[in-house]
Symmetry: C2
């Protein structure tokens, strides 16, 4: 290992390995939560096993960032409804002195907090391996698998380095908003490559469609696996050959991780793991920047409501893609898009366009000269009000120059979104909010919101930087 | 035949069949030219056969539009230089009382005029069939072939109808400027389809790559013929299986002929054969039109010199294509292009663009995230002066938003053409003229030239109409 990388890792490890004091404290807290939940659920139903899972069970949490994950394993014959109901009831009673919040993934679970430590109490089924009944059923198997594999060697700290690196370069987290790497995925990568350093070396050379199959469950039939999973990165779950642990990883986060790995190995620095805090541009700096960028920014602002974040972000990204498509279809040159939400009251979609205005006329390409459709095309366009010049022939096709329907992106969006935008492919969830509250802001018109909301200001400053922070 | 089409043809035939008086006059004139040339060439060289060819020999000329074509058939052992020299000398002496002009195709020939009738005296070789030594050697064979085939039936007037129709709809003439149908091609089409009406019916259903092989020289191997000739229309020369008589026909003229045929058959009218005279817009109307079209016109004006028209137009079209490519490559949306020349002193290339201005920034798409080139791309663009935002990842690739080098088409063209434009692919012939005299005019700046040159005014009015005249 190069001295420089070794030195960076040593410095980082001091910051990320929990002290013995913290380890004992967290582990005893986890055991306490476990046993309290166990007692409560026992009062309602027998045969429910309660276990500690997640990074605490696997000893892979980052110093001062522990989440206590406790799983309640219900018998498979229980209905999903009942599982949620009983699970939540027991968890709430067990942690009645914690501050609590019900959360929903595929089914409800309890998130509780006490003295800055979060506990998640998750009901799932005690499923046979491969016969999963709920999304969380694999988790106990993951815990067992990693604990068994890590038993011989101390890979925990390598996992901690990788997690910290991924957090630093912005690719950590399997939630939809991020589209990055989960903690379990980090553990599997370390298991596969045996160290943080080797993982980055391997990632530097990853190709899109890299397949990692630690237990050789697909017997080296990588092409089949690639077709089956159809994802930029494929890491076969050692406890389930049909599951890609990297399914959440977007090509954006994958590409960033590949490049961050290359950069780190070339020039190792603690700043990859601990980047400087982001600071938003001042409003006057933003104004200046907007006058210099040479393109236009369009903001779609509409009211939101609280929702499960993964659902909210899924629909924001879907709507973003749909409206981007609408803009492209109407000839606007889209440079970059992004979505922001306070996850409560306000959603904003941002579009950077070469220009928010287009020429009044455009070329419209018609059918081949030898097609039957040529007559219909000519009948439609010869002498029509919308025809500016033509039709004429070019490259074996009839062509006409016609008036554009929309020369201003604001009119296009007003028109297409006034009914809620369902036709344009906007998520159903937002239709009402868009119909009632949509505001279309161009360039400096966003200054009001920018000055009022620092999180949005950070987001937009970042958008206008437009590159990962660790890049130069 | 529908009564309406029959009626139109009857009316047209009255206008296009030469009177007996004209026929006799032209034929005796042709014979006189032939014998005069023959006497003169006999004085220089023995064994040179002189014959009348072209539409006079085949009786397919349009009333009052006869050209007398006389061919001098030299022995194959004569050098090309000698053939041109002897041929011209004899022709000039023979027609010394005519006004004369030396012309050059592959080799020189004499164009002479007397009382509004043109004679072309063309030296060529008396080649064996298939062993052509000069481009004109096939002509006597064409004449013999058509005369023999037309001997039994009177197809001459059907040829006249087709020629008149093609002239009317603007697709007649194999010269480079037009890219249309030659007289011989019209004769072969009539021979193949037996009548004007049947030719239009067949053409209505032509596909791109239609093969017509009257003598079945390719034994129905049409796919091979298509690959061999690689042209939108293929009519195998009955006297040479390696020659496509329709080689000059562009897909523009082909498509126009197909559609004009369909239109004529649907609604037969004499106006297809005899369209109204084109009238240019007045300068003030042009000004108004330019303000309404919703796109920009760019004119490249540069000085020309006299040249063989086919060479001149070939180079104009080549230069037009090259500059169009340059504009597209620099992100200008090109709607329509065309070229004009007085064939003497002035050449003009016209480009209709969505806009002559572009945004200051644009997206620049880089290499895939998993390529080696990604590092080089990032090294180049991160923090570069030309970088506006980014780089970031989208669709598996690194992307950056950069400043455009040219946001104004005039600066682009000034820059690329100031040295003559050879790098941009402008024809060598024009480099000097472009370097010395190029003017780049935008929109109304063309009004001066427009008012001064009626032929250009007609051309530009036509460009702004942008469709074939017979179309609605």
């Amino acid at each position: 290992m190069s001295t420089k990388i070794g030195e960076v890792c040593r410095q980082a490890l001091k910051k990320i390995i929990p002290s013995s004091y913290e380890k004992e404290k967290i582990q005893s807290l986890a055991e306490e939560v476990r046993s309290r939940v166990s007692s409560e659920v026992d009062k309602i139903m027998s045969d429910v096993q309660v276990i500690v899972g997640g990074s605490v069970a696997k000893d892979t949490w980052l110093k001062n960032e522990a989440d206590v994950d406790v799983f309640m394993l219900f018998p498979p014959n229980l209905s999903k409804e009942k599982l949620g109901e009983v699970g939540l009831r027991a968890a709430k009673k067990a942690l009645k002195d914690w501050s609590q919040r019900e959360r929903y993934a595929e089914h409800p679970y309890l998130e509780a907090e006490m003295n800055g430590i979060r506990a998640n109490v998750v009901p799932c089924y005690k499923a046979e391996q491969g016969k999963w009944l709920s999304a969380a059923d694999r988790s106990p198997f993951h815990t067992d698998y990693v604990k068994a594999k890590f038993h011989h060697r101390n890979l925990s700290d390598e996992v901690r380095l990788l997690k910290r690196f991924m957090k630093g370069v912005g690719v950590y987290g399997a939630e939809v908003r991020v589209g990055g790497f989960s903690g379990y995925l980090c553990e599997l990568l370390i298991l596969n490559y045996q160290s943080f350093h080797h993982t980055l070396e391997a990632a530097s050379a990853w190709k899109i469609g890299t397949v990692i199959d630690i237990e050789n469950l697909h017997e080296r039939r990588f092409d089949e696996a690639r077709r089956f999973f159809d994802a930029p990165l494929i890491v076969v779950d050692p406890v389930d050959l049909n599951r890609n642990v990297a399914t959440a990883v977007s090509s954006e986060r994958l590409g960033e991780f590949i490049m961050a790995s290359r950069s780190f190995l070339t020039e190792p620095s603690l700043s990859f793991l601990y980047p400087d805090d982001a600071i938003p541009l001042s409003a006057s700096m933003l104004k200046k920047r907007l006058s210099q960028i040479g393109f236009d920014l369009i903001f779609l602002v509409f009211k939101g409501e609280e929702a499960v974040p993964d659902v909210l972000w899924g629909q924001l990204y879907k709507s973003l893609r749909a409206i981007k498509k609408l803009l492209i279809h109407n000839d606007f040159n889209v440079l970059k898009v992004s979505a922001w939400s306070d996850e409560k009251k306000k959603n904003i979609l941002v579009f950077a366009l070469e220009s928010h205005l287009l020429s009044a006329s455009k070329q419209h390409i018609g059918p081949p000269i030898d097609s039957k459709g040529a007559v219909r095309f000519l009948t439609k366009h010869v002498g029509a009000d919308s025809t500016v010049i033509g039709p004429w022939i070019e490259d074996n096709r009839w062509i006409v120059c016609i008036q554009r329907k929309y020369t201003n992106v604001a009119s296009l969006l007003q028109d297409k979104l006034k009914g809620g935008g369902r036709d344009a492919g906007v998520a159903k969830k937002f239709a009402e909010g868009i119909k009632d509250s949509i505001e279309i802001l161009v360039n400096e018109e966003v200054l009001g919101i920018y000055s009022a909301d620092e999180d949005f200001a950070l987001f937009l400053s970042d958008f206008l930087q437009g590159k990962p922070k660790w890049l130069g």
